[in-house]
């Protein structure tokens, strides 16, 4: 009995319980509050392409496609850059420089998202508009680029930690085997660091998926499917930007409110799917 009444253990157990509960409560809330919508309109709204709440038309496809595109663009930019920065700073730099880069990245991570949005608005959008000769710089490419900047520190810092955690003996034995730099990187370092890098990618994906403010300011919020589907240079919509723009007016308990909660549920399911996917792959390995 004494064993269980240890205050530290109780504290840890309570902390764990609240973490688990908060996940369940959140999911439960999303499901419960979006349920009226799913009951009224069914699952086919997921591939509907018209979103006019006042005409009771709720098509999710444009926002889902927009979300996926923004995520993809962000990853395509941030993953190579973040990984490269981690490799360079961890394997090639002296400790002082490594720490400096790290501090820089941590500062980057601490900047509020609205600041990124405003940077996008003032710097990125005019640049895109003029250099690509577009009607407007508000588009999925801009959203993806801003997101990539926001998730870069997560990927970089986590990857750097993972690389640093590899013991020096590993590096030395790889060298004594006569492996060149490229072989050491791809055969020894990256495979060993992969679990850490993977968590970095997942955390980054989560942040990119849920980011609202910065995306809302630059994406254009136009509920229309990109035409053709790979056209990332026209204003588009993401799930988060739609929730941000419409939540204020949707009266609590209305179908519109439910539909926006449905957007939230889709985001949560996407995040869980990504996470499960990553877990599965690690098990196979």
């Amino acid at each position: 009995m004494r064993h269980f009444l240890n205050p530290l253990k109780i504290f840890v157990a309570l902390g764990c319980l609240s973490a688990v509960l908060s996940v369940l409560v959140l999911l439960g809330f999303l499901i419960q509050s979006s349920l009226p919508f799913w009951q009224a309109f069914g699952i086919q709204v997921l591939w509907g392409d018209a979103w006019y709440p006042y005409e009771s038309l709720f098509g999710f496809l444009p926002a889902i496609v927009g979300t996926v595109w923004a995520l993809l663009i962000a990853m395509i930019i941030a993953l190579p850059c973040g990984l490269a920065a981690a490799i360079v700073s961890s394997e090639m730099m002296s400790e002082t420089w490594r720490d400096l880069v790290r501090v820089g990245m941590e500062i980057l991570a601490g900047i509020p998202s609205v600041v990124y949005g405003l940077i996008g608005l003032w710097v990125l959008l005019p640049f895109l508009q003029h250099s690509l000769d577009l009607l407007t710089g508000h588009n999925l490419l801009a959203a993806g680029m801003i997101l990539s900047l926001m998730i870069l520190p997560t990927i970089m810092v986590m990857s750097q930690d993972a690389l640093q955690a590899i013991s020096q003996e590993q590096r030395e034995s790889a060298m004594s085997l006569g492996l060149d730099w490229q072989q050491r990187l791809f055969r020894v370092l990256l495979p060993q660091a992969w679990p850490g890098i993977r968590s970095g990618i997942l955390l980054a994906l989560g942040r990119a998926l849920g980011e609202t403010m910065a995306v809302m300011l630059v994406v254009g919020s136009m509920d229309r499917l990109p035409e053709p589907f790979y056209n990332i240079l026209e204003p588009a919509q993401t799930l988060t930007s739609r929730i941000g723009r419409e939540m204020g007016e949707a009266s609590f308990g209305s179908l519109h409110f439910s539909a926006l909660m449905g957007c939230g549920l889709i985001l949560a399911v996407m995040a869980m799917g990504l996470s499960l996917l990553a877990q599965r792959r690690s098990l196979i390995r």
């Binding site: 005409e55 005019p126 009607l135 919020s221 136009m222 007016e249 949707a250 609590f252």
Partner: protein
């Protein structure tokens, strides 16, 4: 232990006794008037703090329906559905009028587009006219700025131009939110058309005349006063029937001579 609880509850209750916080939420068109009036009112009644935030008319009305704010701001009439939910709970008070100007980028104005008919504006928003060339301007695609469905300006504009406040705008290229956001998109572009209250016009954001029965009418306060400008509207505050005395006093202040002077200074038409 008891003492601590007493002290804590005393501390918590102190600010509530000493001052009152009033939340005003809604239209970003009404916002400058209310926020300047709030500053003046606070100078006279230091114990009353009025927090003013935007979001749009729809947000202001929703806040009144849900009772999350003491004062709502709206730049449009309430819809019948909203009115049904508000009935008996809220007084709707007009504090000013303004014109919803049809705005274009400076470059568009300079290329010779000074006046548009309602039909032409409707064709632009319906996607039938997509290039300024078709209206006598430069050969450039039109950046058609639509607003979030909850915005009062959108309701009034769409009703006057497209026939109904929730009409679809198939020609829209981008959605904006607050007046500031709309203003910045127009001023950054060379090809934009949008909708903005007349008080937001400036060098980079020009209002075009609207042609009614062959006559070009500028979006000015004079044309709101004489009723000739076709896209004019009242600016409302919504006051809960059970609002505190300070909140009522504040609304009275908005309607007083000093309050109406602020209305005029911002660029709207006073109610008297």
């Amino acid at each position: 232990m008891k003492h601590i609880i007493w002290a804590a509850s005393l501390l918590l209750s102190l600010p509530a006794v000493a001052s009152e916080n009033i939340a005003a939420v809604g239209s970003t068109t009404v916002l400058p008037v209310v926020s300047q009036a709030a500053t003046a009112f606070h100078a006279m009644h230091p114990d009353v703090k009025i927090m003013v935030s935007g979001g749009g008319s729809g947000v202001g009305i929703a806040a009144m329906i849900q009772g999350t704010a003491q004062l709502g701001m709206a730049s449009r009439e309430t819809s019948p559905e909203e009115q049904a939910k508000l009935d008996g709970k809220v007084d709707n008070i007009v504090i000013a009028s303004d014109a919803v100007a049809v705005v274009v980028s400076k470059a568009v104005y300079m290329s010779g587009i000074h006046a548009l008919s309602l039909a032409q504006i409707a064709d632009i928003y319906r996607g039938k006219i997509r290039n300024w060339k078709e209206l006598g301007g430069a050969d450039a695609r039109i950046l058609v700025i639509d607003k979030e469905a909850s915005r009062g300006t959108r309701h009034v504009f769409a009703k006057a131009v497209l026939g109904s406040s929730h009409a679809r705008a198939a020609g829209a290229s981008i959605i904006s939110g607050s007046n500031n956001e709309e203003q910045s998109i127009v001023s950054r572009s060379n090809n934009a058309i949008g909708m903005l209250s007349n008080a937001w016009l400036n060098d980079a954001v020009r209002g075009v005349d609207v042609i009614v029965h062959g006559q070009a009418i500028a979006p000015t306060i004079e044309h709101v006063r004489d009723g000739t400008y076709p896209i004019a509207r009242g600016l409302h505050v919504l006051l809960a029937k059970n609002a505190s005395k300070n909140t009522r006093d504040f609304v009275q202040f908005l309607l007083s001579q000093d309050g109406q002077a602020i209305v005029k200074k911002v660029g709207y038409l006073p109610v008297h």
